[in-house]
Subunit: 232 residues, 2 copies
DNA sequence: GCAAAAGTGTTAACTGTACACCCATGT
DNA sequence: ACATGGGTGTACAGTTAACACTTTTGC
């Protein structure tokens, strides 16, 4: 008590790092800013939190209205940035989210929005460059121990297509052979029974696969120190 | 545009889930609330964010002043809760942190604070029960692929003591033999050269070990889909 | 000597990478 | 037939759990 309502309040916004595989590259949805601060620089989609709104709903709303993104395959909270100087005009606390869009989606983007390669970002506003770096790290780690690939891949795909998606997201070569075996052993993939149409030039037609689950599942929970059989 | 400054602001607080191994059990620092809402229930240490303060500094400040906890071995951000109804009196956004205190520390706690067993929490205020659940999950996963044990263990310890700490934190039996081998192979442990004093009743004196690093290091980065030698 | 606790050697299971080989199709 | 890309079999390496065994102490 004493001073009754001396508790300060803060502007709060949600920021989205939305990834999509475009032309075999990992890309991020960014907007070019028209106004100061950072006029001309690129920024992540963001928007202020409304009075009775959840942060998750705030991200989804902004992505659905400002971009045409009502088809987000996956959305999860990343982290909250609170450095006092991160917005030079007015102190704003930002909670970042990681979003994934399937490579087959092709939403209508406004003029000033674009998918930019994640490994060669342009000049970014605020602390958005480091937020993207965090998101890439999270994505790459989570691709290793979960079925998160469903968020980037199409509904149906060949192993070669999936390999290209993983290679783009992980930033390194991936063996199609071993990717298939690992993901199938973990129960992430199942064959649809159909084959992809021939692309000309011969070659055995590729079987089509799909993810067995289209929501996040941890398929490799213990990197080490796993329980084992005896120690129940 | 239009309405110039219609952006709402919010109360923001930092919440801490501080773990400590006490008497061979994983315990959490909690306070018994004196006032409504949730008078009588137990709550995590928390406090409002100040005007020019970082969230991380806010947590550290509250733990250092309200409790005697200036010796936090590790502190990291967990997640931010924004459900409008989580505080029935006044909407408050809360950012949760995970903190670790070494088992040898014994800070002076106020009357209404206590270390409570993490697996048998009392009636908790707000959404704090689920925040603790998140923190336990994070702790257990991170113990598997990083050197986070340094935050819970003493500066020097025998393998048997370390085994008990891991067993308490993971909630299952752990083999001292294999724990030592895994952590030593990963370069997390090093022998001090000394041995622990005898505890009577015979037995070979235990060698003392320490963690080679006392800050977070990911020692087992790739659960799977690891790069390999060829795919550079 | 004997019990007790610590530490080591060894084996087997599992996981993932690398690579050779076979399969199915278009030209 | 043959080239081309898809898919499978197999060997090998690395990691970890399980457990028997040895070592070092107190009594």
């Amino acid at each position: 008590m004493a001073r009754s309502n001396a508790v300060p309040t803060f502007r709060h916004e949600a920021v989205a790092v939305v990834f999509k595989i475009t032309d075999g590259e990992l890309t991020v949805l960014v907007w070019q800013r028209a106004r100061d601060p950072y006029a001309g620089a690129w920024a992540l989609p963001s928007g202020p939190l409304e009075k009775d709104e959840t942060l998750g709903a705030c991200v989804a709303r902004h992505l659905a209205t400002k971009a045409d993104l009502d088809e987000i395959a996956h959305l999860e909270q990343l982290e909250t940035r609170s450095a006092p100087g991160r917005d030079p005009f007015q102190r704003t606390i930002a909670t970042a989210y990681l979003g994934l869009v399937q490579s087959t989606a092709d939403p209508q983007l406004p003029q000033n929005a674009a998918w930019h390669r994640a490994d060669r970002l342009p000049e970014m506003a605020f602390d958005h460059a480091s937020v993207v770096a965090s998101a890439i790290e999270r994505l790459q780690r989570k691709l290793s121990y979960s079925n998160l690939g469903f968020g980037l891949a199409p509904d149906e795909f060949t192993i070669a297509q999936l390999r290209d998606i993983y290679a783009a997201a992980l930033g390194r070569e991936v063996s199609a052979t071993n990717l298939q075996r690992v993901l199938q052993r973990r129960g992430q993939l199942e064959p649809t029974g159909r084959t992809a149409p021939s692309r000309g030039g011969g070659g055995r037609p590729a079987a089509l696969f799909r993810f067995t689950e289209r929501r996040l599942a941890i398929t490799d929970p213990f990197a080490a120190l796993r329980p084992g059989d005896r120690t129940v």
